[in-house]
Symmetry: C2
Subunit: 270 residues, 2 copies
């Protein structure tokens, strides 16, 4: 399996501290050595760094760790290949454009039996199930709304409807962003922490590094960090329940919806 | 105006030497200080580095200059903004997916009067005329061929047909690649050099740096470098005639077509 890292903020914030711990899991403190990637939204633009090398040894990861890129929405991924060879085109996050906005997606899990019909509007370049799911999600949104993007809450509801039938089909933890908000789906494992005033010291689990957020923030800053496993050992990480879809906006969890089928609708382990 | 740099090879090659000179033009030996970007195809994947900072001062450019990424097709761009603010979303090269391949495009010039109808399949994220042209090109190819991509030579002919009517409308030097081959259109200024055995010493114009290609190549290597202005002062750069579209594949110029309207068909300076 892979590891996910996301950030959603109300003011552009750099992710250097959290990325420092996350990067170590790519082949050093953990086994996710089959490439890594990180996408930063800046305004409507995206900087996407992809590397099929382990993040712990990657010079590009060293750059990202040391060069503060300030962003409202960030999605990162370190990969342990399960489907698809280790190659650049199979490295998450994936990026496409829909409605004149870039969309970024990273996935932790496996949905090998989900083989949706793709109409050609978004076609996978690599051969992962993750990129196929992403293409299908964007195609489905476009089919539903045509050329007029829905408002945030309608988009959240539409995503919920789309992924609800998939929850019995495999492991499907993902992060998705259009640069405005960040959607997180916990199928098996995903946690988040909200950082806001009064800010405190935080200490990384994967490296003996500490940061005093009160020294680098203003009282109105809000930052939500989402990760497969908590990155710090002295903050209030909230474990998302399996089968929940979350909407983060402005640095906080705005709402969440259940994606586990009720017993009546159960797909029976299909 | 901006500056373009492209590379097309028959074996994966790094562009560190040529990029060293090119990077200097972004705010140091030349005025193109409104951002820069470079896209490397690796297999079917793309690494796209974008930075709205001047390339001469960019830590990301320093990384690209020193970290050899081997690629068959590279497109780079340094920007002097004419249309659109200086921002990440307006930074070239632009990238989209069509037919399950990534396409990369960079443009030097201005086509302010070209306002094609876009059907929503590819929508600009920023507000440059360049990204609009790219979206229209991909949309037109998809309209023409549906879900079945044409072979290389048919694609080249189709591109020629598409851009032929635009040649009277403004300055339209561009580089376009789908990872297999590289298309270059010279509207006003573009040159190329083919490097092949016997390899020689090359000396940069913009910095006193020399490389002995015979020490870093094999006898079968072929590399074509395309640039707005020659990058070296001791190689046989060929100036493309204004109004010509070129196809580079396997490290050489395979064919070219005239894009200047004949006198009878002249658009009369529209």
């Amino acid at each position: 399996m892979c590891q996910l890292l996301g950030m959603n903020c109300n003011v552009p914030t750099d992710i250097c501290f959290s990325f420092t711990g996350f990067q170590k899991r790519g082949g050093e403190t953990d086994v996710h050595a089959d490439g890594w990637g990180i996408a930063f939204f800046e305004g409507r633009g995206v900087r996407l760094f992809l590397d099929p090398q382990p993040s712990a040894q990657s010079p590009i990861a060293a750059l990202v760790r040391n060069y503060p890129i300030r962003s409202l929405n960030v999605i990162a991924h370190i990969r342990k290949a399960t489907q698809g060879i280790v190659s650049l085109e199979n490295t998450h996050p994936f990026q496409r454009e829909l409605w004149g906005r870039y969309w970024v997606f990273a996935h932790n899990g496996n949905l090998p039996q989900f083989l949706p019909d793709l109409d050609g509007s978004f076609v996978p370049v690599g051969n992962t199930d993750s990129e196929r799911i992403f293409c299908w999600l964007l195609q489905s949104l476009r089919q539903r709304y045509g050329d007029v993007p829905p408002a945030r809450d309608a988009l959240f509801a539409a995503l919920h409807e789309l992924i609800y039938p998939l929850s019995g089909m495999g492991i499907f933890n993902f992060l998705l962003s259009n640069g405005e908000c960040l959607f997180a789906h916990c199928s098996t494992e995903l946690s988040y922490v909200e950082r806001r005033a009064p800010f405190n010291l935080a200490h990384l689990k994967d490296e003996d590094v500490m940061v005093d957020f009160s020294a680098v923030t203003t009282p109105n800053d809000r930052v939500a960090i989402i990760a497969t496993q908590p990155l710090t050992d002295n903050e209030n990480w909230i474990s998302m329940p399996p089968g929940s879809l979350w909407l983060f906006h402005g640095g906080e969890a705005v709402s969440h919806l259940d994606t586990l089928p009720s017993p009546v609708k159960s797909l029976g382990g299909v």
